[in-house]
Symmetry: C2
Subunit: 278 residues, 2 copies
């Protein structure tokens, strides 16, 4: 493929039909150097084995997705979530990535208390931040689109994510910027600058916005260039904020999953060059 893929990283979820060895092999063929991994497929393959596979293929693991789900009110559930997040930190360290992406969690069943849920995230970060830092891993709070506020993530804007992150050292807690979640927000560009200025822009992901949204609104992210997001403009905001790290493409899209994974990865890299480069 002609074009500079140095910054490009493919999030595993974009081509989840590929096994980890198939993913590593296809990346090698295309000249892709970075991958974002997810815990469940890594567990299924074995964490150590996945780390070896990626290392032997010369692939950098750019993020591990995901920790989080900190908003339970029940003490036993909260303790279990913290335990699970400590394991996620250890897995990130084993895989050689410095970034654990956090999806913070939605409202507990029956609750209407967004503020309380957000505060419990801060409580969890206070415990988890030093644990992660000691293992060379940064926590990266990902604000999710407001349509997920009830059931997945009460952190809906980059400003909220930074308000949370800034209570802790930047080496412990920063943010993930994903265009799918933030593209509509006229305040997001200034907040990306804020994240850069405080050393908290830990991960940057691209996806396009397409409609109509599917039922459940989870599997309708657009292939780069198919939707409403000016991806080059958003990459520009990140770079103006000093971001020089990998740019992950993470698409949850049932249509892409139904196609040949190598073809989808090739297309995604081509779209990255066409819509998010130069």
């Amino acid at each position: 493929m002609s074009g500079d893929l140095t910054r490009f990283s493919i999030n595993q979820m974009t081509v989840r039909q590929l096994s980890l060895p198939e993913l590593a092999e296809t990346c090698g063929e295309l000249g892709v150097r970075g991958v974002g991994l997810w815990r469940a497929p890594v567990h299924a393959y074995g964490v150590e084995a996945a780390a070896t596979l990626m290392r032997d293929a010369g692939l950098r693991v750019t993020t591990l997705c995901r920790g989080g789900f900190f908003t339970a009110a029940d003490p036993r559930e909260r303790a279990a979530a913290l335990d699970d997040n400590r394991r996620a930190v250890e897995e990130a360290a084993t895989l050689g990535t410095d970034t654990l992406v956090l999806v913070s969690g939605g409202l507990p069943p029956g609750s209407k208390d967004l503020r309380g849920a957000r505060e419990r995230i801060a409580d969890a970060l206070a415990e988890l931040g030093p644990y992660a830092q000691a293992r060379g891993v940064r926590l990266a709070i990902e604000p999710l689109h407001p349509m997920y506020a009830a059931d997945r993530c009460v952190v809906s804007t980059l400003a909220q994510a930074l308000d949370l992150a800034e209570r802790f050292p930047a080496e412990q807690v920063g943010v993930t910027v994903d265009t799918y979640h933030l593209w509509w927000d006229d305040r997001a560009p200034e907040q990306i600058a804020r994240a850069g200025a405080t050393g908290r822009l830990h991960a940057f992901q691209l996806a396009d916005w397409i409609t109509p949204l599917p039922e459940g609104v989870l599997e309708g992210r657009g292939q780069l260039g198919d939707g409403s997001v000016d991806l080059r403009e958003w990459r520009g905001y990140a770079e103006a904020a000093g971001y020089t790290g990998p740019i992950e493409v993470e698409l949850f899209n049932a249509g892409l999953w139904a196609r040949d994974g190598r073809e989808v990865l090739t297309e995604t890299a081509e779209r990255f060059l066409m819509y998010a480069t130069g």
Copy 2:
């Protein structure tokens, strides 16, 4: 029904299975004094006839839904939209309501220019505002949930709506606050106060947020009390901002539409008393 329904208004879309005469009759039976109407069913019945029907039933028309769709880039489309909005203003005046709710419009096909689309809304308001004021009608920009930013409304937050409205006199342009669209936004309470302080809180609507969202995300609003929104708290924000007007309940919900309309209107009034009163 026991309880104070003085402030309660039923938006016609909540019980769209009821004809206008059935709606008027059921409101009379239940002691409901206000209705929010939609243009299409009013056109089908006849604007003058609908006005007479509502007046004879002692019903106040609290809003007319809706004007807007100002974001087209094509000059002929823009002129047609302005013509249509002038007709909407006249219909509002005929129906005796002082408030025309505006859904501003999404991105034109193929466009990624949110800023440009928002600016075209301002251009339209500049033309339409004086026309509406001369007929005793206020324009009320409704920020829609960010999940509609591409295809229905590029105004996604109350702050954006007020930034637009404040370019014009408050007698011409204000805002509609609907809990369904704003409940996730931690800045919305302070923006409601801003709307009140500047005399721009022209309409207030309630709906609850439930998941999972249906395909297309249009017909999944929750009956009051069924979801994640603390409705009493949001009513409190509006009243703290000095709002003393009608409180409309506007639910787009395929499940409610499949039921008997009188039963749904009764339930909605009961839920209003239970979850948004006292």
